[in-house]
């Protein structure tokens, strides 16, 4: 028995009739055509499929599309406005936080969630915070450096914005 869903992805509404068992990650990749969200395990163990669901990081292979009905998703394609990179994306680029890039979208969205909760995480807090996301290429050091750099960038921008508002 198929069900109708309406999911807002990166600001655009997607309506479809889906099987109740369809995973959100398959909805994103196959129905919405957004393949930046990767699949590394389909069993919630690698984090490659991490997206933001109403602003919070979730592994989209453990969410059913029907559970996301009426809710709002941000995928890696929607993180930055237009041509610019989001500060976390910039930081991953500058700090060489990726090699093959497969874990990267999930890693960046996970870092986004972490930095929302803790704007200036310590090295250990970062390592623990990205504990649900595996990277086989980097040995994590440059990812940790990238999250630190992103935190600095975002804090700076926030301070600058606050000053501008004063």
């Amino acid at each position: 028995m198929k069900k109708n869903v309406r999911i807002v992805i990166n600001g655009a509404e997607h309506r479809a009739e889906v099987e109740p068992r369809l995973l959100l990650v398959h909805f994103l990749r196959e129905v919405a055509g957004l393949t930046g969200t990767h699949i590394g395990c389909e069993t919630s163990l690698c984090g490659a499929c991490t997206v933001l669901l109403d602003g919070m990081a979730v592994k989209s292979c453990t969410v059913l599309a029907v559970q996301a009905d009426g809710r709002s998703i941000t995928t890696i394609e929607g993180l930055a406005a237009s041509e610019n990179l989001h500060p976390i994306q910039e930081a991953f680029w500058e700090e060489h936080g990726l090699q093959c890039g497969y874990c990267t979208p999930g890693m960046i969205l996970c870092a986004h969630d972490l930095l929302q909760q803790n704007a200036s995480p310590s090295e250990q807090e970062i390592r623990d915070g990205i504990g649900g996301n595996l990277c086989r290429c980097t040995g994590y050091q440059h990812i940790v450096n990238a999250v630190k750099a992103a935190s600095r960038k975002m804090n700076q921008r926030q301070r600058a914005a606050a000053r501008a508002a004063d």
């Binding site: 990767h38 590394g40 394609e77 990179l85 890039g101 595996l134 086989r136 980097t138 050091q141 440059h142």
Partner: protein, 805 residues
């Protein structure tokens, strides 16, 4: 923090771009998630397939019933071995005199020999339907005795995997030099150890994936595959499916890591294109993680018997080794090659006058082993660096000094090793010295001694490794060891580089651009590197064996040099000068010593295309191709030092410091080299501490998910202190050696040495990997039962009561 890129060596190959920390050209598309890996490829009328796999490690297939699956709505077809008679075997590229190569059909025929072996394939309109239908394929198996232990497999009473062979032995191979008997006679001590190098799973984060589209009208087959070797794959698939090679195009789009596991030709690589040809529809298969752990090649899995004959003063007289290597049930592309690399690198960075090594390949009812990051060299480094530590302890010598005593001197290079290799260049003493300094070695040793008196188990692990890279001269490789490059300067002056290398995370789109930018005096942003498309790129070998830059980059270098000669000829003609006086720099082409005579870059290149005024014999256009055949391998080296504390109550290991001093010759981009080293160390440490592919007594892989197979998380990996020395290689003009595998090779023995060192007061000389707390705790408990705790004894008295855990 890593102390990046400190160059201690004399020679530096720095230009405006080479040697600089330069942000990767690949990254903007990757951090946005807008480029495409194989599974991201969508085609009209695409269908999906799922493989039905054997649940038995060894069984006769009595019958297969595909009726129920076939009748499902949305299912296009279900095939078994009977349907693919025309499809060629899965290839093994190795040839050796006594090598037994079993027939390796893409779908099991009559018999299955490992869990996960493909038996049938279901094709359906969508992946969910294909998965459901695959469950309905009914296969009747009659289980057969299972062969799993490589030592038992060689005994007479063992069951056989191939009756025809009459043995489970796949090959034996001996390597000898010097007089080993004389060495043993002269020796004051022969140190012995048995080491297990456990089976591990490469676990690239992107699972394998194949999309094939056959267009019958054009007789054209296009394959997108997550591969490290697009051209070799094209040749092999063309042979398997019976198409002329020009009709086949392989594209390696973004590839999400390989680590050797995608340096192969798998059953699915043949079956998916075959299905597309039969159905005249595009077909996709993407591996699940469970499949990835079960049926993508595994690495390592050897048992090693080692003996080192020594004089009292620590001089090595001879090394004897027997290496038993688990092949798995079939040979994949390079399966039997891997232990040969172990034998070749066993002498490590030491002078060993006599060497006697035997390697034996053994069939078992498991997935094939093959190249996993380091491929045979981590096993060699583990063997020699572990026994060096055991020997130092037995002779009561310092682990660092004992190693240093047996190093060849820098002036002895090129140095011929006991295994007959010619090491290109090295300064082992310098890298050891730098690592000892960075680690604060003397302090660590002092603290260790003090700690032992208080019942604290501090350990220091040293690993002075050397590896074989830039694979390699063709004469020493099964399928060609050269690499190709075509460089085309387009009429607009922008540069296209087509490389036969096939990077999948290494970043050669960036490093090659840096290299060419310096050669041509232009900006890296004006250079585009194209790879991984057999229709665009001249035949190439691919990316593995730390060869991308040292071999592929050198091909690019020489192709550009050819173009520089051409540019000089044209410029000389147009500027009225001698070609020898032409200077190409800073976006201009001019005449030496005459500032007025010069042309902008774009103008001279355009002149080569308009060709209105060209010198006699000048070919229009601006394109050159070079196939680079290296004269030798390169041999990067270095020293890693690790300090640990082991908790005797829990067996837990705390990594307190990890220092890596690597020498990969000249460096094109220090940031990328650091990345390679860090990722490599993480993988090597993880083998030492966490990872193991476990089969139970029935041959079932029980580490079949990422829940059970321990890929490390960020909190499991420490921060590394990195440095470099620079000893350029004479093998290529850039002096680069390769760095993709260094970390993996050095770190595994370094870690285990540290733990065994910490526990040496208990008389523990070896614990087999992975050093999980439980295993360490058991070793400690057993040793403590035999020896009183260290607070009540001295390290010296404990040494007399040595035992192996």
């Amino acid at each position: 923090m890593a102390s990046n890129g400190k160059n201690n060596g004399k020679a530096k190959a720095n230009g405006q771009w080479v040697g600089k920390r330069f942000k990767r050209k690949e990254d903007p598309r990757l951090v946005r998630g807008i480029s495409h890996y194989t599974d991201d490829i969508k085609l009209p009328r695409l269908v999906h397939c799922v493989f039905v796999r054997s649940p038995h490690a060894h069984a006769r297939i009595a019958s297969i019933n595909t009726e129920a699956a076939r009748s499902q709505p949305g299912v296009l077809t279900v095939i078994t071995s009977a349907d693919i008679e025309g499809l060629g075997m899965i290839p093994c590229a190795m040839q050796m005199p006594d090598l037994k190569i079993p027939a390796h059909p893409a779908l099991a025929k009559g018999r299955v020999r490992y869990v996960g072996e493909p038996v049938a394939v279901v094709v359906a309109e969508d992946a969910y339907t294909a998965r459901d239908a695959a469950e309905m394929v009914a296969v009747d198996y009659e289980p057969l005795p299972v062969v799993l232990d490589i030592e038992k497999a060689l005994q007479k009473e063992s069951a056989l995997i191939y009756q025809d062979f009459g043995t489970n032995k796949a090959f034996t191979h001996a390597m000898k030099s010097g007089d080993i008997e004389a060495a043993y006679k002269k020796a004051d001590r022969v140190v012995k150890v048995r080491l297990i190098n456990q089976r591990v799973a490469p676990t690239a984060m992107e699972p394998r994936s194949v999309v094939a589209e056959y267009l019958p009208g054009e007789n054209r087959l296009t394959i997108w595959a997550s591969t490290q070797i697009p051209h070799l794959l094209r040749t092999q698939v063309a042979i398997m499916v019976g198409l002329p090679e020009p009709a086949v195009r392989v594209i390696a789009p973004e590839v999400g890591g390989g680590f050797g596991s995608k340096l192969n030709v798998y059953a699915e690589d043949g079956v998916v294109p075959w299905l597309s040809m039969k159905l005249a529809r595009p077909v996709k298969w993407t591996e699940t993680r469970r499949e990835s752990l079960m049926v993508t090649i595994h690495g390592r899995d050897t048992i090693n018997y080692l003996e080192l004959a020594l004089k009292k003063d620590g001089t090595i007289l001879g090394l004897r080794a027997k290496v038993l290597a688990d092949m798995g049930a079939y040979h994949q592309l390079l399966t039997p090659l891997i232990p040969q690399l172990t034998a070749l690198m066993l002498p490590g960075c030491y002078k060993i006058p006599a060497f006697d090594c035997e390697i034996v390949g053994v069939f078992t009812n498991k997935m094939s082993t093959d190249a996993y990051r380091g491929a045979g060299r981590p096993e060699a480094a583990y063997d020699i660096e572990r026994i060096m530590d055991c020997a130092a302890r037995e002779l009561n010598l310092d682990a660092a000094k004992f190693r240093s005593k047996n190093f060849p001197q820098p002036r002895e290079f090129p140095f011929t090793t006991a295994a007959g290799l010619l090491y290109d260049s090295a300064n082992y003493q310098q890298s050891l010295k730098r690592a000892l300094q960075l680690a604060g070695y003397d302090k660590l040793r002092a603290r260790q001694k003090a700690g032992w008196k208080q019942g604290k188990y501090y350990g220091v692990g040293v690993s002075t490794y050397v590896e074989i890279c830039a694979i390699g001269p063709s004469a020493a490789t099964p399928a060609g060891g050269w690499e190709s490059a075509t460089v085309r300067i387009e009429p607009t002056g922008k540069v296209t580089v087509l490389t036969g290398a096939s990077p999948h995370g290494q970043g050669q789109e960036t490093t090659f651009a840096q290299l060419v930018a310096d050669q041509l005096g232009i900006n890296p942003d004006d250079i585009t590197i194209i790879h991984g498309d057999t229709l665009a790129v001249p035949y190439g070998i691919g990316t593995f064996g730390s060869r991308g830059t040292a071999v592929g980059g050198t091909a690019v270098y020489y192709a550009v040099e050819k173009l520089k000669i051409k540019i000089a000829a044209l410029a000389a003609h147009l500027l009225g000068a001698k070609p020898a006086d032409i200077v190409i720099a800073h976006g201009r082409v001019g005449v030496k010593g005459n500032a007025k005579k010069s042309m902008p870059w774009g103008e001279i290149i355009l002149a080569a295309y308009t060709a209105r005024s060209i010198p006699a014999g000048f070919e229009p256009g601006m394109e050159a191709t070079h196939f680079f055949e290296p004269s030798n391998f390169t041999f990067p080296f270095g020293t890693h030092i690790c300090a640990v504390e082991v908790d005797p109550e829990t067996g837990e290991i705390k990594i307190e410091k990890y220092v890596a001093v690597d020498d990969c010759g000249n460096v094109i981009n220090p940031m990328l080299v650091d990345g390679q080293v860090q990722g490599g160390i993480a993988q090597g440490l993880s083998q030492a501490l966490y990872e193991e592919m476990v089969y139970n007594e029935d041959g079932q892989p029980i580490t079949g998910s990422l829940m059970d197979y321990a890929v490390p998380k960020a909190a499991h990996i420490p921060e590394f202190i990195l440095d470099r020395t620079v000893t350029p290689t004479p093998v290529n003009p850039m002096g680069v050696k390769g760095v993709g595998e260094a970390g993996t090779i050095a770190s595994t023995p370094c870690m285990v040495n540290a733990v065994c060192d910490a526990l040496s007061p208990l008389g523990i000389t070896n614990i087999d990997m992975p050093l999980k707390p439980e295993r360490v705790w058991r070793a400690i408990a057993a040793a403590q039962a035999a020896v009183p705790p260290p607070a009540a004894t001295t390290a010296k008295s404990a040494r007399t009561a040595r035992r192996t855990a």
